[in-house]
């Protein structure tokens, strides 16, 4: 059915944004715990776990995100697990974000000077107290700007979920383009909506970074 591009189409695209946002949040919910694990494994004194952490990051980052999505999408049914598309997409994006978040957070933890550990130990703090009161507060400040930057990256990359049929902004755009035969205007609108979502995060990340370097 071919119809003209009408005023409701941009509206539908705006509504489709919520699925993009939701998928991003799901990916973060899945990716953050694994990322935290990867980061802490990468910071132990144990050589094997450090190696495992680095191998995981290298493995995930060495394979295209599109391939991860397809592997989960087609992989679950093989093991007899019937999962809806959104769950397969969430798994794919979680794995992807866990590696990037793990790398960012490992770097942040590592950038805390050893003397901070020694100083907090010398005033009698336990390991948990050291982390809770000395290390993590400083690491969070360092890790926040790149984490916000990565979330923006993730929002853009959720567009790939369209390929396995998850209806978010890009998929909605594809359907609108197919129905109206006006792909260029539709994709320009889709691009503008992504920009409206990502640009504030970019600016915020930059602001955080400047504040961090100003405070030093």
């Amino acid at each position: 059915m071919i119809r003209d591009l009408s005023w409701v189409d941009p509206l539908y695209l705006v509504f489709a944004l919520r699925w993009t946002i939701l998928l991003t949040l799901l990916a973060l919910a899945g990716g953050a715990p694994i990322g935290l694990l990867v980061a802490s494994l990468g910071n132990t004194s144990h050589a094997t776990s450090r190696l495992a952490s680095r191998a995981y990051i290298g493995l995930v980052q060495g394979i295209p995100l599109l391939a991860w999505l397809f592997l989960f999408f087609f992989g679950f049914p093989i093991f007899g697990i019937d999962v809806p598309g959104w769950l397969a997409a969430t798994c794919g994006f979680s794995v992807y974000s866990s590696a990037f978040l793990g790398e960012i957070w490992r770097g942040a933890l590592q950038s805390i000077p050893r003397t901070q550990w020694e100083a907090s130990a010398s005033i009698g703090m336990s390991h948990v107290e050291q982390l809770r009161y000395v290390i993590i507060p400083q690491a969070i400040r360092i890790a926040t700007p790149p984490t916000v930057g990565f979330i923006m990256q993730l929002i853009k990359n959720t567009s790939l979920a369209a390929v396995i049929g998850f209806v978010e902004l890009t998929r909605e755009g594809q359907m609108t383009a197919a129905a109206t035969l006006a792909p260029l205007s539709v994709y320009l609108m889709v691009g503008a909506l992504y920009f409206a979502l990502c640009y504030p995060l970019t600016v915020y990340s930059r602001f955080l970074e400047r504040r961090l370097h100003g405070a030093r």
Binding site: I63, A67, I78, F79, K156
Partner: protein, 222 residues
């Protein structure tokens, strides 16, 4: 369970895979070349350009970096014919990917150029070097050396991102995978093989770029 993996069907299509692999390498190579040139021009414009040029460079970088590659490829894919340019899908994919890579490269190179202290340039002037000599030896090469790790990561990300071009039917490795999948229905096996090939390519590219840095920046001052 009860599923038997059949990789035989996938490997039977090795010609198609190989063809896709060659195109992926070609796409990666040409995109890096064009993307680097675009990035260098934009970085120079954003550091040394007039106010207008600076603004244009800024707008380009922000527009590209804040929108998804897939949407950019769609815009180029549908936009070029509407302004009367009809090209084969590989050049279209190359243009789209190069525009994308150009913005990221520009941002990295700009940071590199800005990392060179003003006093270095002044020292160059004092030594009587010409402007182009100063730019080349005092600014560009040390700047490249400073940002080489970021540049390397960006190029590897780009190599992996060429898989997105399969969505505008550029017949590269990932697209070859989807063709084999539709012929054999061995989806999981196909994408496992594809994933392993990309992983190997990523490791290989990292190795090559590391060797490249040895050759490019041989004279290291200590």
């Amino acid at each position: 369970m009860g599923y038997t993996f059949h990789f035989r069907d996938v490997f039977a299509a090795q010609d198609a895979l190989l063809h896709g692999l060659v195109l992926t390498l070609q796409l990666t190579g040409t995109t890096i070349l064009f993307g680097f040139v675009i990035g260098l021009c934009v970085a120079v414009a954003s550091v040394y350009g007039s106010t207008g040029a600076k603004r244009a460079a800024r707008a380009y970088v922000e527009l590209i970096r804040n929108t998804p590659l897939l949407v950019q490829l769609f815009v180029v894919f549908f936009g070029l014919p509407s302004i009367g340019v009809k090209l084969d899908v590989i050049p279209v994919a190359t243009i789209g990917l190069a525009i994308n890579l150009g913005a990221y490269t520009a941002e990295i190179l700009r940071a590199g150029i800005e990392s060179i202290p003003r006093s270095q340039v002044e020292a160059g002037i004092a030594l009587g070097l010409t402007r182009s000599q100063i730019f080349r030896h005092v600014v560009l090469i040390p700047a490249l050396r400073n940002v080489y790790p970021s540049l390397t990561s960006q190029f590897i990300l780009l190599m992996l991102a060429t898989s997105v071009a399969s969505q505008i039917a550029a017949p590269e490795l990932f697209y070859a995978g989807s063709i084999i999948q539709s012929r054999t229905y061995r989806d999981f096996e196909v994408y496992t093989v594809i994933a392993v090939v990309y992983l190997a390519l990523a490791l290989l590219l990292r190795l090559l770029l590391a060797l490249g840095s040895r050759l490019l920046f041989r004279r290291r001052r200590r």
